[in-house]
Symmetry: C2
Subunit: 158 residues, 2 copies
C-alpha cells in the first residue's frame, strides 16, 4: 500500500484517544472521492461555491458574522489511516513529514479552510462559502473568524 519513502508510526493514533469531538454540521459541496480539487486554491479556481449546514441549536453562534467576512472552517477528514508520519502524496515532489503537508491523512484528521461567507441564514444555520475542497457530507468541527493581526505570520507580504 505504501509509496516510496513513506513511514508509519509504531502505533495507531486511533488507539490512543484522549479527547472527543462532536459534529456541529456538515459541508455541502459538488465534490466526492476522485472529483475533489487538490486544495482550496484549485477549488476557488473551479468557480464552484459550497455551503455549511449547521445542526439544530448552533445557528445562534453565527451572531456577529456577516457576508464578505473570512472564516476558518475546521472539518473532519478521516480516511481511516492515521499512522502515516512520512508521506509521498501524488503530485508532491517527494516524501515529506506529515506536519509539512496538508494531506488529510494525519494523526488527527482535521482540515482547515479559510473561506469567505457568501450568504448567511441565521435562522436555518446555512452559511454559503466561496469554495471548499471537502467532499459533500464532510463533518464540520468549528467555525472561527479569520483575523489578519493573528492569522497572517509576522513579516509576511503578498
Amino acid at each position: 500500500m505504501s509509496r516510496e519513502g513513506e513511514a508509519e508510526l509504531p502505533f495507531d493514533p486511533a488507539d490512543r484517544i484522549e479527547a472527543g469531538l462532536t459534529f456541529i454540521g456538515h459541508i455541502r459541496s459538488p465534490w466526492g472521492p476522485g472529483t475533489a480539487p487538490r486544495n482550496l486554491r484549485a477549488a476557488r479556481e473551479s468557480g464552484e461555491g459550497a455551503r455549511i449546514e449547521l445542526r439544530d441549536g448552533y445557528a445562534a453562534g453565527l451572531a456577529g458574522l456577516e457576508v464578505g467576512r473570512a472564516i476558518q472552517v475546521l472539518y473532519w477528514v478521516d480516511r481511516g489511516v492515521r499512522n502515516l508520519i512520512v508521506q509521498n502524496p501524488r503530485h508532491a515532489d517527494g516524501a515529506k513529514g506529515t506536519f509539512a503537508l496538508r494531506s488529510p491523512v494525519r494523526p488527527n484528521p482535521i482540515a482547515l479552510g479559510t473561506v469567505v461567507i457568501t450568504s448567511l441564514d441565521r435562522d436555518t444555520g446555512v452559511i454559503g462559502i466561496d469554495a471548499t475542497d471537502a467532499w459533500d457530507g464532510t463533518p464540520v468541527l468549528d467555525i472561527k473568524p479569520w483575523i489578519d493581526t493573528v492569522d497572517v505570520p509576522p513579516g509576511w507580504r503578498p
Copy 2:
C-alpha cells in the same frame, strides 16, 4: 455564572462525541491561568517565545519544515464548558456568537495559532516557536504548514 447576553445550547456537546483525538505533544510556555496574553498578537508583543515538545514517534513528521517557516498549530483548550453558543467575553464589545469569537469556550475547544519556527530539533521533536497564547502544558493536536495561497483570504491586502 453567565454574563449579560450569553446563551447556552439546549444540550452539552461533550455528551455527543462522534470522533476522537490523540495528543501528539504539548506546548511549553511561560503562561498559565491569569497570566496568558489575550491573543497571539499580545503574546508576540510580550517577546516571549515558546516551544512544542512532540511525543515519541512524531518527530519524523517534521521532515520538510525549516526554521523561519510559518506553521499552524492546533491545540486543545478544554475549559470544561462547551455549551456556550453566545458569549460576552471580558474585553469584548458586547455579546457575540461563539463562531464570531476566538474564545477557547466552544463546542469543540480547538485553538489555532499561526506561528514562526525559531528552532527545530528533528531528533528530539522539539520545535521552538516565536509566540503562543497557550498555557504551559496545553495538548497539541496537529501542525500544518502555513501556505499563503490557501491561508490568506482572496482579495486581502495588508
